[in-house]
């Protein structure tokens, strides 16, 4: 008996974007213009977006205005800013003034925010051309991008598979060259896991490294904004642009921003790399394990000392994460009530009915599930047993990492226990979907930085990502290690 999947050709939209350095030379030397580049990207988006469902809305007018500004600079021979003319897509949980901001939810239908997120402002100030708003799981809640109210994103590597989530669209956009780079957000793995599933680079900055101003909040003590790119150096350049203190976000850090791209050029010889036993235990796909082992061997060959480390609280990370994240989400999502913006249920004769009808009609099933779980964990009689307990375990998890980083410069693990799964494969079982986040939620809870770097593929050609974790504010080290893996594994 032959399975359908053996007879059908896999539909594939993979195309690697040019590097920032190559595009910079082309624009500076007048071989292309920012306007032509943007027009080319819009053409490609028009052609393949109906199949991949990556973009939810385009910001053409704003993009072309910025492109014209960059082209005027280039024509005059003026110095070009670091991202001059680079087409970038924005996950639709970050606001852009006047553009639809949906968070992939029906409850924000019609909302056009009157301000820009700080990361958006900084990208544009650095010369980036912002193409549009990108699909994701509703309110960034999900690991497959199947929870979007506007339909799932398909994985450019194999359109029958999910791109991961919640920033599935941001990863897919780079994999399919529908943007040179994108912004995503990561609360429990939402940048790192889709980067792994789509074969691109994704960065989780240290908590507080990038301002959250203008990010539609999910879980405020965990939410991060970070870049996706086609290679490590470009991702490092993007982080350098968006990182840094912002008076609009009291949790943003005043720690100096390093030249991450230049740091990523440094050799890794002499670095100590930790490999935690708990991330290679039961449940890890054998092909993923083999690919990651090759990456570890490559680091050793490049002169790193590889050391086994133990993080015994790892198994408690998923329950801890899903209690903390949902509790914070239930509070954050209370603001969507049909009063100030977005959707209001039309026929309600009292305020109270209007609240509950608007929320019931506006939110999708996963968002409701998490609001209920979070509300339950915070409610009288359960607060100590669930929420407080989870916060105590969160400290144990964070301290365990800090002890490990006293001995090693970086920790490497698989990003996900499995390669990209099929659409519909896990969507009926919320707990199974949560369990797939096992290797990413730990760094979220501990506030660490991390990079997902492509590290080989399965025999079916599905990308495997290695997660390189760094201590707080040690992005430079994580980029160096990721760069070495990239060079060794992908030429």
């Amino acid at each position: 008996m032959r399975l359908a999947s053996e007879t059908n050709t896999v539909e594939n939209f993979v195309q690697k974007p040019k590097t920032l350095a190559a595009l910079r030379v082309e624009i500076a030397e007048g071989r292309t213009t920012a306007a032509d580049l943007a027009a080319g990207y819009y053409q490609r988006i028009e052609k393949i977006n109906p199949r991949l469902n990556v973009y939810l809305s385009l910001t053409k007018e704003r993009a072309l205005e910025q492109a014209a500004h960059i082209d005027a600079l280039a024509a005059k021979g003026d110095p070009l800013p670091p991202l001059a003319g680079i087409p970038v897509g924005i996950k639709d949980v970050l606001v852009m003034k006047g553009a639809p901001a949906t968070a992939a939810s029906k409850i924000l239908k019609g909302y056009r925010p009157p301000y820009d997120a700080t990361a958006v402002t900084r990208l544009e100030a650095a010369g980036a051309v912002l193409l549009g708003k990108i699909n994701c799981d509703e309110f960034a809640m999900g690991s497959s991008n199947e929870n979007s109210a506007y339909g799932p994103v398909r994985n450019p590597v194999d359109t029958e598979r999910v791109p991961g989530g919640s920033s599935g669209g941001s990863a897919a956009a780079v994999a399919a060259n529908m943007a040179v780079a994108t912004l995503g957000t990561d609360t429990g793995g939402s940048i790192r896991q889709p980067a792994s599933f789509c074969g691109v680079v994704g960065v989780l900055p240290t908590y507080g490294r990038v301002s959250r101003y203008g990010l539609i909040a999910f879980a405020s003590s965990l939410d991060r904004v970070g870049p996706f790119a086609g290679n490590v150096r470009d991702a490092a350049t993007l982080l350098g642009v968006i990182a840094g203190h912002d008076a609009h976000d009291a949790t943003s850090s005043p720690a100096p921003v390093e030249d991450y791209a230049a740091e990523s050029d440094k050799p890794v010889e002499g670095l100590k790399i930790g490999v935690p036993d708990e991330y290679f235990a039961e449940g890890l796909d054998t092909e993923v394990r083999a690919a990651i082992q090759k990456g570890i061997d490559a680091l050793q060959a490049a002169g790193c000392t590889v050391k086994r480390v133990s993080l015994p609280h790892t198994k408690y990370a998923i329950p801890t994460y899903y209690l903390v994240a949902t509790a914070e989400a239930s509070a954050n999502l209370a603001r969507f009530d049909g009063v100030r913006y977005g959707y209001r249920s039309p026929a309600s004769d009292t305020l109270s009915a209007m609240y509950s009808h608007s929320r019931d009609e506006g939110f999708g099933a996963e968002v409701k599930r998490r609001i209920l779980l979070g509300t339950y964990a915070l409610s009288a009689g359960y607060y100590d047993a669930y929420y407080l307990k989870a916060q105590q375990v969160r400290r144990l998890l964070a301290e365990e990492f800090l002890r490990a980083f006293a001995d090693v410069d970086a920790i490497v693990t698989p990003t996900s226990p499995m390669p990209a799964f099929k659409l519909g494969e896990k969507s009926g079982d919320p707990l199974a979907m949560y369990l797939a986040d096992i290797y990413t939620v730990t760094a979220s809870l501990a506030g660490l930085c991390g990079v997902t770097v492509p590290c080989g593929a399965t025999s079916a050609g599905l990308p495997v990502g290695m997660q390189v974790l760094g201590a707080h504010f040690r992005e430079s080290t994580a980029f160096r290690v990721a760069r070495a893996v990239e060079t060794a594994m992908n030429g």
Binding site: P113, Y115, Y207, G208, H245, A247, A250, T251, S252, S253, P254, H313, K315, Y316, I318, P319, T320, Y322, L323, D337, G338, V339, R340, Y341, G342, R344, D349, T350, S352, A353, M354, Y355, H357, R359, D360, A365, K368, R369, I371, L372, L373, T375, Y376, A385, Y386, L388, K389, A390, Q391, Q392, V393, R394, R395, L396, A398, L402, P430, L431, Y434, G447
Partner: protein, 101 residues
């Protein structure tokens, strides 16, 4: 911490969260919440007596905070904000009646 959630619990929590669930939704949520809460009960294995809860990683040593001075400053313009409301008169948000008679 292993207490089973009942339909009444789901309805009570939904009310707290201003969510009105259909009976079908309630039934699904009941199954899902029980499965998830069963799983998170694993945390009971850990003795956390004397462990201070960690609400924010910025409580850890490696973080420096830089709160802004507490000064009044202009915020978003009302004229830019109010048109986003489903119903407003330009200065106030309009909502259905608060008290039912």
């Amino acid at each position: 911490m292993t207490a089973k959630v009942t339909v009444n619990d789901v309805e009570r929590v939904a009310e707290l969260a201003h969510l009105e669930l259909t009976p079908d939704e309630s039934a699904h949520m009941l199954t899902d919440l029980n499965a998830i809460l069963d799983y998170v009960a694993e945390l009971n294995e850990l003795d956390t007596a004397g462990v201070a809860p960690l609400a924010q990683v910025s409580e850890l040593g490696s973080f420096v905070s830089a709160p802004r001075p507490d000064l009044s400053a202009p915020s978003l313009d009302r004229a830019a904000v109010m048109p986003q409301a489903p119903e407003s008169d330009g200065a106030f948000f309009k909502v259905p009646k608060v008290i039912e008679r």
